[in-house]
C-alpha cells in the first residue's frame, strides 16, 4: 500500500470480502521505550518521526501533556504559534492523504497536485522551524524561536492560493461520475458502531457526529478562534472526502485568525522559570541525590487532541526526574484500522484501496 507498511489479511468468497485481519507492527520502533531514556525536549525529535505526516501536531500533543505533568505554562504567543502550526500541519496532512487516496483510485494527476501544494506549506514550515518534515520546533514552555519577518504575509499568500486549489481538487474528484461510482456507499460505518469501535476523527464525523475535541474540550487557544466542525451524513468514503476537504477550508480560516492575532501581539515565546533541564542546554546532572533533594514536583499529564487522523492522546508520567517515567500515546490510526473488521466485510476486493485509503493510514503513528 502507498500508506506504509502494514498487512491486511483478507478472507474472500469470490470477490466479496468475508473477514479481515489487520496485521501491524512492521514499523514498531519502540518510541515509548526510547522516550523513557530521553529528556522531555529530546522526545520531540521522536514525535516528528512518530507521525511523519503530522509532526507538528504530535509535537503539540506531547508538549501539552509534558507541560501539564511538569506544571509549566507557556506564554500566549507560543500557544498561538502552536495552533497555527497544528492547523497548517492539518492542511499538509490532509493534502498528503488526498494525494495517496486519489492514487489508490488510479488518479495520477491529483497526486502530483496535492504533493505540489503540500510543498508550499512545507516551505512555510521550513522558514520558521528549519526542517521540512522533522521540525523539532516546540519546547516545553514555548517554542524554539519566533516567526521570521514577513512570515504572516507569505503564509496568507499560500493559504489564498490553497483555497483556489481546493476547488480544483473537487473538480477533479467530486465532478467526476467515476469518482462517485467508485466511492459512494463504500465502507459505511454508522455513528453508534463507530463510537463502539472507538473510531475518531474525520471517519467519525463523516457519520454525522459532531465530535471534535477542538470544540468539545478546547485546548490551547481554540476557544478564542472561530471555526466550524465539518461533518457529513453519508458515513462512506465520499463523506470522508467531503469532511477532510471542508476541514482544510476551516483550517485556513483558523490560520488566518491566528495570523491576525500574531501580527498584533508581539511578545515572548518561551516561558520563564523552567527547571534546569528544560530551559537550557543539557549538561551533566551530577549526582542524582541532589536532584531528589530539590524535590521537583511530580505529576501526570494527559492531553487529548484532534490530530489530522483523529483523536490522539499522550499520557506522561513525571516522577520528578529528568526523564519521564512513562510515556503512552493513543494512536487514532491504530483504532481506525482496527475497525476495518467492521466496515470492510461485505464489499469487494477492488473496494479495499478506496476504503482503506479513506482511513488515512499513517503507520508510524499506528505502530509507534
Amino acid at each position: 500500500m502507498t500508506h506504509g507498511l502494514w498487512n491486511l489479511r483478507v478472507r474472500i468468497e469470490g470477490e466479496i470480502i468475508k473477514d479481515v485481519e489487520p496485521e501491524m507492527g512492521y514499523l514498531h520502533r519502540g518510541i515509548e521505550k526510547i522516550s523513557e531514556d530521553r529528556h522531555y525536549n529530546e522526545i520531540i525529535t521522536l514525535m516528528d518521526r512518530t507521525c511523519y505526516v503530522a509532526g507538528l501536531a504530535w509535537e503539540h500533543l506531547f508538549i501539552v501533556a509534558a507541560e501539564q505533568a511538569l506544571h509549566v505554562t507557556p506564554p500566549e504567543r507560543a500557544e498561538y504559534i502552536r495552533v497555527l502550526s497544528a492547523e497548517l500541519q492539518r492542511i499538509a496532512s490532509h493534502l498528503m492523504w488526498y494525494s495517496a487516496f486519489v492514487q489508490d483510485l488510479g488518479l495520477m494527476t491529483p497526486f502530483l497536485y496535492g504533493m505540489r501544494d503540500r510543498d508550499l506549506i512545507l516551505d512555510l514550515f521550513q522558514s520558521y522551524t528549519g526542517g521540512r518534515l522533522t521540525y523539532e520546533y516546540m519546547r516545553v514552555g514555548g517554542v524554539r524561536s519566533d516567526l521570521p519577518l514577513g512570515f504572516t504575509q507569505r503564509c496568507r499568500q499560500v493559504v489564498d492560493w490553497l483555497m483556489d486549489r481546493f476547488v480544483e481538487y473537487d473538480q477533479l474528484c467530486l465532478s467526476s461520475t467515476i469518482f462517485h461510482e467508485r466511492c459512494d456507499g463504500l465502507g459505511v460505518l454508522l455513528e453508534p458502531e463507530a463510537v463502539a469501535y472507538g473510531v475518531t476523527g474525520p471517519m467519525l464525523r463523516s457519520a454525522g457526529s459532531h465530535r471534535d475535541l477542538r470544540k468539545d474540550r478546547p485546548y490551547s487557544v481554540y476557544d478564542k478562534l472561530q471555526f466550524q466542525v465539518a461533518t457529513a451524513s453519508t458515513a462512506d468514503v465520499t463523506g470522508r472526502y467531503l469532511v477532510r476537504m471542508e476541514e482544510m477550508r476551516q483550517s485556513v480560516r483558523i490560520v488566518r485568525q491566528c495570523l491576525d492575532w500574531l501580527d498584533d501581539h508581539p511578545g515572548p515565546v518561551m516561558a520563564e522559570h523552567l527547571p534546569r533541564w528544560l530551559g537550557a542546554p543539557y549538561a551533566p546532572m551530577g549526582n542524582e541525590s541532589y536532584l531528589l533533594k530539590r524535590n521537583y514536583p511530580t505529576g501526570v499529564g494527559l492531553s487529548m487532541m484532534e490530530e489530522p487522523h483523529g483523536e490522539a492522546g499522550a499520557y506522561v508520567v513525571n516522577d520528578g526526574g529528568e526523564h519521564p517515567y512513562r510515556v503512552k500515546f493513543r494512536s487514532p490510526v491504530l483504532i481506525n484500522i482496527w475497525a476495518a473488521k467492521r466496515y470492510l466485510p461485505g464489499y469487494r476486493v477492488a473496494d479495499i484501496p478506496p476504503i482503506m485509503g479513506s482511513v488515512d493510514v499513517c503507520v508510524g503513528e499506528c505502530d509507534r
Partner: protein
C-alpha cells in the same frame, strides 16, 4: 453545537467526466511554458537566483522568501572559537557527537572539538542551540550521499571547511533563560582537588584558599587541600564539565539564594 455540513454542493458531476477533463486541460495549458519543476542539479532552491522561479505553482511564485536561512543542514564549525565545552555532545539526543582532539590545545588542556556522525544525526539543531560561543551552527547544505559509511563521519576539520565555504548559516539563536540555574558547591564534601578549575573551558572557576578547620576531638579530619572553587556566574556557560569531573560529586545545579 455549530457544525457545518460538508456537502460539496458546488461541485456536482456535469456530463459525466467533462469537468475533470477540463481541469486537467487547464493545468496543461498553464504548465505548458514552465511547469513547477525545479530542474534540480541545475537549479537549486537555496540559490537566490532561482527563488523567484521556484516555490511556485505553474510559474507563479508564491510564498517565496528567505525560507532557506533557517534550514538545518550540515554543521559548520569554527574551530578557532570552539572552547571544548562539550555542550553539543551532551545535548545531542542521538549521541552522534564525539569530542575528538584537534591540534591547537596546550598539553594540559587538549583542545577537543565535535566530530559528527551524520549516519546517526537527526538534524534537530539542539547542538547548535546549545553552543554557547556560536561556533557550531547549521548551514543550508544538504547533499550527503556517500558510497561508504565512513564518509558520513565529519571530522572537525571537515566541518571547518564547511564553515570556510561561507554558506548561509542558521541565524536562530535560542536565548538562554535569565534565571538559569547555577552550579553550587556542597562545601563539606569538597576536597579542593582543583579538577573543576583545571577542566573548566571558560576558566571561570578559581580556587580560593579557605581557612583550615581544626578537627573536633574524636572526629577524623578528611584529607584535603584547603581550597574551594568559586564560580564566576557571568562567565560560566553552564556546561557542567566541572560536575562531571568532580571526584566527590560535590557540585550540583541549583539556585543561589
Amino acid at each position: 453545537m455549530d457544525g457545518t455540513s460538508a456537502s460539496g454542493t458546488e461541485e456536482k458531476p456535469f456530463l459525466w467526466v467533462t469537468r475533470p477533463l477540463a481541469t486537467a486541460a487547464k493545468q496543461f495549458a498553464k504548465s505548458l511554458w514552465r511547469p513547477s519543476t525545479v530542474v534540480y542539479p541545475f537549479e537549486r532552491l537555496e540559490d537566490p537566483k532561482f527563488r523567484a522561479k521556484v516555490a511556485v505553482a505553474s510559474g507563479k511564485p508564491i510564498g517565496v522568501g528567505e525560507i532557506w536561512d533557517n534550514y538545518r543542514g550540515v554543521h559548520a564549525l569554527n574551530i578557532n572559537t570552539c572552547i571544548s565545552c562539550n555542550l553539543c555532545a551532551f545535548s545531542c539526543p542521538d549521541v552522534c557527537i564525539e569530542m575528538v582532539t584537534v591540534p591547537g590545545g596546550d598539553p594540559k588542556h587538549p583542545k577537543k572539538c565535535p566530530q559528527i556522525d551524520y549516519g546517526k544525526c537527526s538534524f534537530c539543531g539542539f547542538c547548535s542551540d546549545a553552543c554557547p560561543e556560536g561556533c557550531l551552527s547549521m548551514t543550508t547544505r544538504y547533499e550527503l550521499s556517500v558510497h561508504k559509511r565512513e564518509e558520513m563521519v565529519y571530522s572537525p576539520a571537515k566541518m571547518f571547511d564547511v564553515y570556510k565555504s561561507k554558506l548561509p548559516m542558521n541565524p536562530i539563536r535560542v536565548e538562554r533563560p535569565e534565571n538559569e540555574d547555577q552550579i553550587l558547591l556542597d562545601a563539606p564534601l569538597c576536597i579542593g582537588c582543583n579538577a573543576c578549575s583545571r577542566d573548566c573551558p571558560t576558566n571561570c572557576i578559581t580556587m580560593l584558599d579557605i581557612p583550615k578547620l581544626t578537627p573536633k576531638p574524636g572526629e577524623k579530619m578528611p584529607k584535603r587541600i584547603w581550597k574551594e572553587p568559586v564560580i564566576n556566574d557571568s562567565d560560566c556557560v553552564r556546561c557542567g564539565t566541572c560536575i562531571s569531573v568532580c571526584p566527590k560529586d560535590c557540585l550540583f545545579w541549583g539556585t543561589r539564594q
